[in-house]
Amino acid sequence: MQEKPKVVIRRGSRPTVAEKTFAFGRADVRAEGPLREYRERAWELFERLPMPSLEDEAWRRTDLRPMPADTFRLPSAEAYLDLAPVPEALLRPLVAERHAAQIVLLPGGVRVEADEALSKQGVIFTDLQTAEARYPELVQRIAGQVVRPEEGKFAAMAAALAQSGVLLYVPKGVRLEQPLHSVLWGPGNGLAYFSHILVLVDEGAEVTYVHEAASPTENADSLHVGLVEILLEQNAHLRFVELQSWGQHVWNFSHERVRVGRDASVDWIFGAVGSRLTKNFSELDLVGEGATGRMSGFYFTNDHQHLDHDTQQNHLAPHTTSDLLFKGALKGKSRSVWQGMIYVAPGAQKTDGYQANRNLVLSDEARADSIPGLEICADDVRCTHGATVGKLEEEPLFYLRSRGIPRPEAEKLLVEGFFDPIMQRIPFEGVRERFQKAIEEKLASEN
């Protein structure tokens, strides 16, 4: 009888965890205001939690070893005065003729413009530091309640160090027609940005909120770590558009969760075209009966970009519905990872969950990983998923070219056609135009 071969696994001498550590200290934690204790606890967690490594399941495909963690530093007060100014195009309303309010988060500063009518309705839309001073109870009601600092090194880091952020509160029954808009503008070399977005939409209220993070591409690596915590009370409705066009020198991490109450709904739209590397945890917690959530993601990577979206649709109550579609195209040597999970808790009957991720790989050196997942602990549910990675095919290209359309344009048409199902889910023309422009720019880029 043949002997079984002995399997020897040799680990290379190269460590799977980054060797460089962050250079921030306890003194960087803002030890004041209503979040003092929360931040101090988060800081301790941050110090205690190890840097994620390739051996952690969620980080298996996202390598942090090249990140120069020790070089990042916080921007000083009023740093924005010496840095690239925020482009006008980012300040224009995306989803309507005009917005009711706009917050621009700048390195070492903030600009808030709000319509007076807003405060008359009891709506609060302001930057984090102002919110801590003026609405401490509200801030405490949300911060750390939706995303816990324990969830990861970066969750703890942003919780402890967030210098800037937004508080949005929409009181009971208030339905805002005009959208709210915030921009996190993060220019500069070697800088670290920590942001914290807090949203509470009260019973029966309704709002559209657009948050955008952006920067030019600079020379030295920079960092952004963010938290997004959103609470939707009974019968509240939120349309949340989140756009990310960080420069390709930015290491971008975020933990985001929307908790959706009874008969409440969120329509959550993601657009990601920037950053050197992104690891984003986005979760939907459907906690009330009849809660629904839709997540629509658009991404397009090129050059050496690496985008990793980790999504979770948690059905924690009966009669809840979730519907996720993420579509991405990849060029150059870029890479994308989508890892999705639908979780149905025991007793969450009559759940309807859907997730699909489609990728279009436009170069031989680009790579997309698509990993759907289902964990179902109830028996009367409907859950479906799909994941595909494809290339541009020669037959459709030939067909289009045979009608006089040159190859680059034919490719563009096919890419646009690929993204069309995402465009169909976006009710805002301005956002669709932005994505359209991103498609054109990415296709025209050399790498």
């Binding site: 030939f398 289009l400 045979s402 009608r403 006089g404 344009e409 056609g417 069309d420």
Partner: protein, 255 residues
């Protein structure tokens, strides 16, 4: 020169020679039919004329407007005035018929003037609606995704609509196997008859004589084993209907 001239065309697919010296001239205002049993190279001829990358020309040339079009990219051939109606049109999900046709029209305009801003949308809409009316098509067709979920007949209609919009000078209709569907044949025939005129030369490829009841060719050619072995008038098609291809095969073998 208002003609498409195929001279001694040899074409291989995966190193196997399919066309073994085809000679044929199609003038504008003429309708030519190429008939022949399956597997004799009729579709290869159609795809080669349009420039499909899977077909390798090993010898010969195809002259149109003083150029050997075999040296041109498929899109350049199209803009020069060549059109291929596909036997099996390709579905393009997410791209509407209107959007696609506007891109095709604009590509033509930009080839003439790189600075061209594209056809104004109202003008394009008006033109498209006129063509659809001419072909008795429902305007809602323009908003559907190209060939995506189309029935066989709808696909044929879409091909003819493209032909009407792009106004080619030489149209090749590859209908090799679709003789099975009489409605589809009629759609193609009605379309061609509506568009036919002194500025259009048509090459119809079929293996069913039936199509020629609807499109009246001026010339009929028979292809066997990669060559045109017999040419004649419409009466040749009738002879084939009556006697099949075997008598021709025997003649070719004897010669």
């Amino acid at each position: 020169m208002d003609q498409l001239e195929i001279r001694n065309l040899h074409v291989s697919v995966n190193d196997r020679e399919i066309l073994k010296g085809v000679n044929l001239t199609v003038r504008k205002g003429e309708i030519h039919a190429i008939m022949g049993p399956n597997g004799t190279g009729k579709s290869t001829l159609a795809y080669t004329l349009m420039g499909h990358p899977a077909y390798t020309v090993t010898e010969g040339e195809v002259i149109f407007k003083g150029q050997n079009i075999l040296e041109l990219e498929p899109d350049e051939r199209s803009r020069l005035g060549i059109f291929l109606a596909f036997q099996y049109p390709v579905a393009i999900p997410g791209v509407t018929v209107a959007n696609f046709l506007r891109s095709a029209v604009n590509a033509r305009r930009r080839a003439v003037d790189p600075q061209d801003k594209g056809i104004p949308i109202p003008e394009f809409r008006k033109m498209l609606l006129e063509k659809m009316k001419l072909l008795k098509m429902d305007p809602s067709f323009a908003g559907r995704y190209l060939n995506d979920g189309f029935s066989g007949g709808e696909k044929k209609r879409a091909e003819i609509l493209q032909m009407a919009v792009l106004q080619p000078e030489i149209a090749i209709l590859d209908e090799t196997d679709s003789g099975l569907d009489i409605d589809a044949l009629r759609i193609v025939a009605d379309g061609v008859n509506a568009l036919m005129g002194p500025n259009l030369g048509v090459l119809v490829i079929t293996h069913y004589q039936r199509l020629l009841n609807y499109i009246k060719p001026h010339f009929v050619h028979v292809m066997l084993d990669g060559r045109i072995v017999e040419s004649g008038g419409p009466e040749l098609a009738l002879a084939l209907e009556e006697h099949g291809y075997s008598w021709l095969r025997e003649e070719v073998q004897e010669a």
